[in-house]
């Protein structure tokens, strides 16, 4: 499993975490290149179907990054996202998926280092979990 490279799909809010990722990049911070970033305007715009689809198609982890509670650029999108992710976690657990493959993290625009740390931590976590079993199953 040592050579297993987890693939993370990250859904990042435009204002906070996407900008933090941008800062991590422009600041030349070190973090593993396992993440594929998809920008959304707000975590509140993250339809759970996107997370489910990524997991079903073999993503080892899904990272959802948004503004800290109280800081949403659109007042309350991150609270709404949190509720949706809680629901999705419960559904995934009920179906035999490991909900720990789906992370929700609050990372503000200035927290480039925190973004880098989060990706590093998640990659390590997923290495321990091993590949998404969906990768081994016929795509369905």
């Amino acid at each position: 499993m040592a050579d297993f490279e987890p693939r993370i799909v990250a859904f990042l809010c435009n204002w906070c975490t996407y900008t933090a990722a941008d800062l991590a990049g422009t600041s030349r911070l070190q973090y593993p290149p396992n993440v594929r970033v998809i920008r959304l305007m707000c975590t509140g715009a993250l339809d759970p179907v996107y997370v489910s689809k990524a997991l079903l198609e073999g993503a080892d982890g899904v990272l959802i990054g948004g503004c800290h509670p109280g800081d949403c650029h659109y007042q309350s999108g991150n609270y709404k996202a949190r509720r949706r992710i809680a629901i999705l976690h419960t559904i995934l657990a009920g179906l035999g998926f490991d909900p720990q493959r789906v992370w929700l993290r609050w990372i503000s625009a200035s927290e480039g280092q925190r973004f880098a740390d989060t990706v590093t931590e998640m990659v390590e976590h997923l290495r321990r979990l091993g590949p998404n079993p969906m990768r081994e199953l016929p795509m369905s």
Partner: protein, 370 residues
């Protein structure tokens, strides 16, 4: 409930007494129409019907233990826009709960609806009910265990699996409630109403036994439910087993069509949203060696759960509708129960509680997100 009264039953014809009561609701002008289960063609099929003529109520089968549709879906069709017509809707507890959810989802309006909720000890699959009728069983006969809270399984037929684990034998919040369980069925039929009725009825002193029997039913069903949920979790501990259980799903969408909570005019899985260019399928197949066709079967189920789990009332019509008998009622209900528990929500419990999908609290779920 402000009014508790006995419905006069001639002999043992509880169904007849209920028909007469319904007819009086119509003739008195209490309602303009009734949405009730009726025999419309032959005796084997009992289907929802919209009745305006009191005479037509002869075909009404108030006690037939069969549920072809969730009556809430039909009530929604009639009331999604308020026409001003007063309609009485005959509902089982799960149907009433579905109607409350649909109302909160603006797929029904209750301004001019009178909900009439009847005790329920469970229903048979449509084909099983037809077989029972063919074998000469009368609906009321199937209710003979009502006094003890037992609907006796008729020969060779079991109740629908959702009903076997349903802990709601009676409805809590109807306009009119028809009580059968824990009484001297079929000689006693209880009517409880929030408002004065257009019919003179002798007041009822409800025996304490009714409550005891209802509690017994709830306890028994809850135990059966928990056993079923636990069995599911043991059987499907991981994705591989899940995939196996869903191996025979043909993505026909019947579960979605039957579900009272799936209210979309057109399901997103019936739109081209998830379709791919032909090239894409070939590419996937080339990369992975094999892909299942049609694709996105699990995605469909997970997404549907995301949409309806917070409002699922456990009516189990999804499973009845499944051509390949997937145990989806157990699965969906067990997931829905965990999801609703997150928000201390119970689908259909009240009109006032906010839908979990339409609300959030700043101080909730704080262990999620760091």
């Amino acid at each position: 409930m402000t009014i508790q009264a006995w419905l006069p039953v001639e002999g043992e014809d509880a169904a007849g007494a209920l028909r007469k009561f319904l007819a009086e609701l119509l003739t008195s002008g209490y309602v303009d129409a009734l949405l009730v289960p009726c025999r419309l063609a032959g005796d084997e099929a009992v289907m929802p019907a919209l009745v305006e003529s009191p005479e037509a109520l002869e075909a009404c089968e108030p006690l037939a233990p069969v549920m072809s549709h969730n009556m809430a879906t039909m009530a929604g069709r009639l009331t999604v826009m308020d026409t001003g017509r007063r309609v009485g809707v005959w509902l089982r507890p799960c149907e009433l709960r579905a109607l409350i959810e649909l109302t909160k989802l603006h797929q029904a309006t209750l301004e001019h609806v009178r909900t009439i909720a009847v005790d329920c000890l469970g229903t048979y699959e449509v084909v099983d009910y037809a077989a029972l009728v063919r074998a000469g069983k009368q609906p009321a006969e199937l209710w003979r265990g009502a006094a003890q809270g037992e609907a006796l399984p008729a020969d060779g037929c079991a109740l629908r699996s959702a009903c076997r684990m349903c802990e709601y034998p009676t409805a809590a919040n109807a306009d009119i409630r028809i009580g059968l369980i824990g009484l001297d069925f079929p000689r006693q039929v209880l009517v409880e109403s929030k408002e004065p009725l257009p019919v003179e009825l002798p007041p009822a002193d409800v025996p304490a036994r009714r409550q005891e029997v209802l509690e017994q039913v709830r306890a028994r069903r809850t135990a059966e439910r928990d056993t079923a949920f636990a069995a599911w979790r043991t059987e499907v501990p991981d994705l591989r087993r899940l995939a196996e259980r869903f191996a025979t799903c043909i993505r026909c969408h019947n579960c979605m069509v039957a579900c009272p909570i799936c209210y979309c005019k057109e399901c997103i899985f019936r739109t081209p949203t998830f379709d791919h260019e032909p090239e894409q399928y070939f590419r996937w197949a080339e990369r992975r060696g094999v892909i299942r066709m049609p694709t996105d079967t699990l995605l469909f189920h997970i997404t549907r759960l995301n949409h309806m789990a917070t409002s699922c009332v456990g009516c189990g019509l999804c499973e009845s509708a499944c051509p390949n008998r997937l145990p989806v009622a157990t699965l969906f209900r067990s997931v829905a129960q965990s999801v609703q528990a997150l928000f201390n929500y119970e689908a259909g419990r009240s009109l006032e509680e906010e839908l979990p999908l339409a609300a959030f609290r700043e101080d909730e779920l704080t262990d999620l997100g760091k």
